[in-house]
Amino acid sequence: MEATFLLTLLITFLASFIGYELISKIPQTLHTPLMSGSNAISGITLIAAILIYPEVGESQLLKIIVLIAIAFATLNIVGGFSVTGRILEMFKKND
């Protein structure tokens, strides 16, 4: 348990570090698509909703709350990627 938790923390640190390093030199032109794209990625919390949905038990209220989370996260993912695609399409035709 202890060792796994530390490993998870290490992964968290490494991922944050990689994220910081990869993005730190991004040109201003791409700030919006980056934000919109990473915004879509934050909808990945959908995974958590999928994992807990079958185990939510008898409570109808909790089930509805998970369904709301699923709706929100799906909107975030699908809408986010779709709009990022739209923005990047505009940059692409300049090439």
Binding site: Q28, I41, T45, L51, I65, L75, S82, M90, F91
Partner: protein, 444 residues
């Protein structure tokens, strides 16, 4: 098998983030990220799709379709609102998941605190983003900071109080949720419109952090990795935006900046000009730099900008765009609007790249920008914008400011650029003004 899928997904996410960093590869980044997301979501089912009832699948399909619909219909000028809205949804989802996990009594103590954290951050992101969207839509004015200060002062007792009622655990949870909700509303409500690039980037980062902590609760490495990537990239944008205003994040979040007129008195009257004169002035120029600001977005003047650019380029006049990092209402807002009308990103320049060129520029057109070209930032130590990096347009040979009136910008102060000897004002709406200049060109 699941582990391999998740490994591939993590690597794809990291590659996607790398590809986002260059204009030529950015469109591939989106594809990579989508693929990574699809793999990650697929793996969450663990090949057992029968565990899920119709309500589950219907929710996914309906909200997915709704997401596509919204994203296709929205106009480019409304992009800050849309990013804010989706961001709020992501945060809200993480908050709701944390709440459900906390409601189950089986959570170990270490996870309990992570879940509380995830809920607070998620709910704060949700309510804060909704308020940000309302502000961006102009539906909500600045709220007095006193309310926020009173709330912050009462927050510690408000948190300590429920711990006395520890026999009613659920009540405490909802109480925490309510407090986070109110905190999000109040915190964003006191921040003014032109600080929105910071707010949007900051909320974006928070939604990543909320997702990351949700990953700790459900023991999902991919969730932690993706959440951390988003959290880190959001922080970078937040700090970049703060640096561009020479203010700290805390100072921005404290709110109360701008929105009120501090000083709008001028020693002399500005020189007013006409579209015809501007057209003549431009036709004699060899180099022109256009400085777009939020006024261009409000007036939807992008197409007119493109037309003027074409007219000038046809006359062999060099046209460049100087974009301040916080111009507009989200990071990179002006770049997106210009890209929408096919302006080459090679022609868009950052503050660092173009500032040395102004002194050799014939004509600068300031289009709906104000504080980011105010020379007081360099000279007046008492000014609220002192020290903020600005575009040094006052050094150019001639400056044309297209603006509806002499009213001050967000910082609420007079802009001496407008009465500079080399500056002329064209009093018009950004779009109308440009269109009249273009029309005058046909007569020149």
């Amino acid at each position: 098998m699941i582990e391999i899928i998740l490994l591939v997904s993590s690597v794809l996410f990291i590659f996607a983030l790398k590809l986002f960093g260059r204009p030529s590869t950015a469109h591939r980044a989106n594809t990579f990220a989508m693929l990574a997301m699809a793999l990650a979501v697929f793996s969450a089912f663990n090949f057992d799709f029968s565990k899920y009832d119709p309500a589950f699948y219907i929710t996914i399909v309906v909200s997915g379709l709704l997401g596509v619909l919204i994203s296709k219909r929205v106009q480019m000028t409304q992009m800050p609102e849309l990013v804010g809205l989706f961001n709020g949804f992501g945060g809200g989802a993480s908050g709701a998941i944390a709440y459900v996990e906390l409601s189950k009594s089986t959570l170990p103590l270490s996870d309990y605190f992570v879940a509380i954290f995830s809920m607070v951050i998620g709910v704060f992101t949700f309510s804060g983003s909704i308020i940000a969207v309302l502000k961006l839509r102009g539906k909500l004015n600045n709220v007095n900071t006193t309310i926020a200060n009173i709330f912050s002062a009462f927050l510690p007792p408000l948190i300590l109080l429920p711990s006395i009622w520890d026999d009613m655990e659920i009540l405490t949870l909802e109480y925490f949720m309510l407090l986070s909700l109110i905190a999000g509303v109040i915190r964003v409500a006191v921040i003014g419109g032109a600080d929105m690039p910071v707010v949007i980037a900051f909320l974006n980062s928070l939604s990543g952090i909320a997702a990351m902590s949700a990953g700790f609760i459900v023991n999902s490495i991919i969730l932690i990795v993706a959440g951390a990537l988003v959290g880190a990239s959001g922080i970078i944008l937040t700090l970049l935006m703060c640096a561009a205003m020479n203010r700290t994040l805390l100072d921005v979040l404290k709110g109360g900046f701008g929105g009120t007129t501090l000083n709008n008195e001028y020693e002399k009257d500005p020189i007013s000009t006409s579209p015809e004169d501007v057209a003549i002035q431009l036709s004699y120029a060899e180099s022109v730099v256009i400085v777009p600001g939020y006024g261009m977005a409000v007036a939807q003047a992008q197409a007119a900008v493109k037309e003027l650019t074409n007219t000038l380029k046809d006359k062999n006049i060099e046209v460049k765009f100087a974009i301040h990092p916080v111009a507009g209402r989200m990071p990179g807002h002006m770049n997106v609007l210009l890209a929408e009308v096919d302006i080459d990103y090679e022609d868009m320049f950052t503050l660092e790249d173009i500032n040395s060129e102004f002194s050799s520029t014939d004509v600068v057109i300031v289009l709906g920008a104000n504080d980011v070209v105010n020379p007081l930032a360099r000279t007046d130590e008492d000014s609220p914008i002192y020290g903020m990096p600005i575009l040094d347009v006052d050094l150019a040979k001639q400056v044309i400011v297209i603006k509806r009136s002499m009213s001050p910008g967000y910082a609420g102060i007079a802009n001496p650029l407008f009465i500079n000897d080399n500056a002329k004002m064209l009093f018009a709406d950004a779009k109308e003004g440009l269109e009249n200049i273009i029309k005058s060109f046909e007569l020149v």
